[in-house]
């Protein structure tokens, strides 16, 4: 058996935040990430999914040390990066890039787009001024913008275009691993699809490993090779995408999947949703953290936390009852679309291909 080529690994990664320091007694802490072991393979798209407050964004930021872990290690290409300082860490950051959710908040409004994309090149001392300018123009075109956009400011662009700028900036110094925190959730549906396609193309072209943090399960199903599901600071299930969606092994995964509104009429009875709300991460429940909301919970679950147990290569689950449960996933038999809808979709696709064959491979965006 060959061991997969791991690009990034975390071991018992933990992060605590102090939420309150009472006058007497110990400070009140929230364990945002509480012992996560990730194994990311080179070249894969790995998605981390979970609801608000599950710690997914904290985890993502620890992977590039935008937030320092309280405990545990992050190994990038088998090297522990948690202790790196100064110049060493700066060099490491060239290989590890981050795309933020909000393209309105993550670009400095006082810098031109050209300067924003050039900044990482300058920071890493890559190329002379002319080379850098040429590289900026190339990157702009690659993400579907125009070279002359380099002289404009972020506020002159729409949300989708700003996210393209953020992507160009992340790719500027040819990283090996890109972590994207909710890269499309702030965008409209049609723009979201453009950015999803762009990320997939760039991943192939630049031979990237991609970690996406998302709450939209449809986007994850479309983009990811493997998925890790988080609940209250811990991984509860890791599996390849198709298996996870069709045969979930953790009751929380099942609940997430059944809650997705499916964009077809009458294919699935409407979900009722889980009982209750995510508990307070400051005082997580004893035993399995999901047990108060879990329809399958037993006495064992109330007392003993289940370990994350390996099921197969690259798949694991943290549930005492996983071997006995038969959980419901998405039904894959047929797409459920009517022949008329299918015909129109095909026509639309054909017409787009025909038109684009005559014009440009990337549709030009209108001048602003």
């Amino acid at each position: 058996m060959t061991t997969p080529d791991l690009i990034l690994e975390t071991r018992s990664l933990r992060r605590r935040f102090v939420t309150r320091k009472p006058l007497l007694g110990p400070p009140v802490e929230v364990r945002a990430v509480d012992g996560v072991d990730l194994r990311i393979r080179r070249g894969e798209t790995f998605a981390i999914v979970g609801e608000s407050g599950c710690g997914k964004s904290t985890l993502a930021r620890m992977l590039v040390r935008l937030i320092e872990p309280s405990e545990g290690t992050v190994l990038f290409e088998n090297r522990n990066i948690t202790g790196l300082r100064g110049e060493e860490m700066r060099a490491m950051r060239r290989d590890l890039q981050f795309i933020f959710q909000d393209p309105f908040a993550s670009l400095n409004p006082r810098m031109t787009v050209g300067a924003l994309i050039e900044e990482p090149l300058r920071a890493h001392g890559l190329g002379g001024p002319d080379e850098r300018r040429a590289r900026v123009a190339e990157l702009l075109e690659r993400v579907g913008l125009l070279p002359q956009h380099a002289d404009r400011y972020p506020h002159e662009f729409s949300g989708g275009q700003r996210q393209r700028i953020g992507i160009a900036r992340a790719l500027a110094c040819a990283p090996k691993l890109v972590i994207a925190d909710e890269p499309v959730s702030a965008l409209d549906v049609s723009i979201q699809a453009q950015v999803v396609n762009l990320l997939q193309d760039l991943k192939d072209e630049f031979a990237l490993t991609l970690i996406i943090i998302a709450h939209d399960l449809a986007v994850i199903r479309h983009m990811a090779d493997r998925v890790g599901v988080m609940y209250l600071g811990q991984l509860v299930e890791v599996a390849d995408t198709d298996t996870l969606f069709t045969h979930p092994r953790h009751p929380y995964t099942e609940a997430l999947i059944s809650a997705i509104p499916v964009p077809r009429v009458g294919v699935k009875p409407p979900a009722h949703g889980l009982q209750g709300e995510p508990p307070n991460p400051i005082a997580p429940p004893a035993g399995c953290r999901f047990h108060p909301r879990c329809p399958y919970a037993t006495e064992l679950c109330r007392s003993t936390p289940p370990p994350l147990t390996r099921l197969a290569a690259g798949a694991s689950v943290a549930c005492h009852h996983a071997p006995d449960l038969s959980l419901q996933g998405l039904n894959d038999t047929g797409t459920g679309r009517s022949p008329a809808a299918e015909r129109r979709f095909a026509l639309y696709r054909a017409m787009r291909e025909q038109r684009e064959g005559q014009t440009l491979p990337v549709p030009p965006e209108p001048e602003i």
């Binding site: 997705i260 797409t335 095909a346 209108p366």
Partner: protein, 346 residues
């Protein structure tokens, strides 16, 4: 004959005719000629992307558009026999929060942060029902119970910031429904919520609607939510209705290229496969709306005739579309031979 069948039904709860909204300094109408019909107990979903005019339409119905800068150019909205656009503000205030109510995407911005949740609900009841403090408070408690907020007695005396997002949205729904309105307008009510909480809130809205027979106008960008909730759908693009009809018709027999593009832009939940078929480009800016079909610049089927605005035609069964090319098979006959169309048709 189809319309004849509907003539025998009682008059609709809400009938919006030719609503157009313009803003100072913008040459085109931001909402342009929108007409809607809604019956008691029915759910109408308005779907479209940012700037399509779906929220403006809802705000206009509630009389909440800031005028100026907004100006209503034309239109009627007959609700329970009265024109909402042609009544004194005092009369509208008696209807609003009483016969019709609205819930918003972010309850934190529409609940008063300085007033306890129970008092806010009670205030809405006292304004319209002429009851005393105790009766209003009892009604508020009953409403919190009906929206399934745990420990409602305790929650009555909490402030909005003490509740989670899902709880706040429930409290908003409780307030909106406190006076048994005939019409509820919900603007992206679950967009800010997590998926499992969204499922709870949608389930709650369906249940309450069954109990009260209120009609619901739900504004959303999520076609999944539309498929689960709607009886009828209106698809809007750049201020105009491009397609409308019973939900099954629109999903199973989509006619407008924008509807089709929107559906194919959404990642399918089926097995993974290839690239998403996107809609190229972006929505035209408000100050540069084209005269003709507003989708033409992004439409793969567009031709010279699209420079004239297509009317919203009825294809039968209340399914309406505004496209010169619909049905597309006949509008683009040369495509039958295209390999992509052949492959998928088989």
């Amino acid at each position: 004959m189809v319309s004849g069948a509907h003539m025998t039904e009682s008059t609709p709860l809400l009938q919006v005719t030719d609503l157009s909204i313009r803003f100072a300094g913008v040459p085109g109408n931001l909402v342009d000629g929108v007409s809607l019909t809604l019956n008691a107990g029915e759910t109408l979903c308005v779907v479209g992307e940012s700037g399509c005019g779906k929220s403006l339409t809802a705000l206009a119905l509630m009389g909440l558009l800031p005028m100026p800068p907004a100006r209503r150019m034309s239109g009627q909205a007959i609700f329970e026999g009265q024109d909402l656009f042609d009544m004194p503000l005092e009369a509208l205030k008696d209807i609003r929060g009483n016969r019709m109510a609205m819930i918003f995407q972010e309850p934190m911005t529409s609940l008063n942060p300085a007033i306890k949740v129970g008092e806010q609900i009670a205030e809405a009841v006292r304004r319209h029902k002429g009851v005393n403090r105790e009766q209003a408070r009892a009604r508020a408690l009953e409403m919190l119970r009906r929206v399934r907020i745990p420990a409602p007695e305790k929650r009555l005396d909490e402030y909005p910031h003490q509740m989670s997002g899902g709880m706040r949205q429930r409290a908003m729904i409780a307030m909106a429904l406190a006076n048994d309105p005939a019409l509820l307008i919900a603007d992206e009510p679950t967009t800010a919520l997590d998926v499992t909480v969204q499922a709870q809130v949608l389930d709650l809205m369906r249940t309450l609607q069954r109990e009260t027979n209120a009609a619901l106008i739900m504004i959303t960008h999520d076609l999944g939510v539309v498929a689960e909730m709607a009886d009828t759908v209106v698809v809007m693009y750049a201020g105009r209705i491009v397609e409308a009809g019973p939900v099954r018709k629109v999903f199973e027999d989509p006619q407008h290229p924008y509807t089709i593009g929107l559906m194919s832009s959404m990642p399918d939940l089926g097995p993974r496969g290839g690239r998403l078929v996107t809609i190229p480009g972006v929505v035209p800016p408000a100050d540069a709306m084209p005269e003709g079909c507003r989708f033409a610049a992004r439409c793969p089927f567009a031709g010279a005739d699209c420079a004239a605005a297509p009317p919203l035609r009825d294809l039968g069964d209340r399914h309406r579309v505004a496209c010169w090319r619909a049905p597309l098979e006949f509008g683009a006959p040369d495509l039958a031979a295209h390999p992509a169309a052949q492959g998928a048709a088989s």
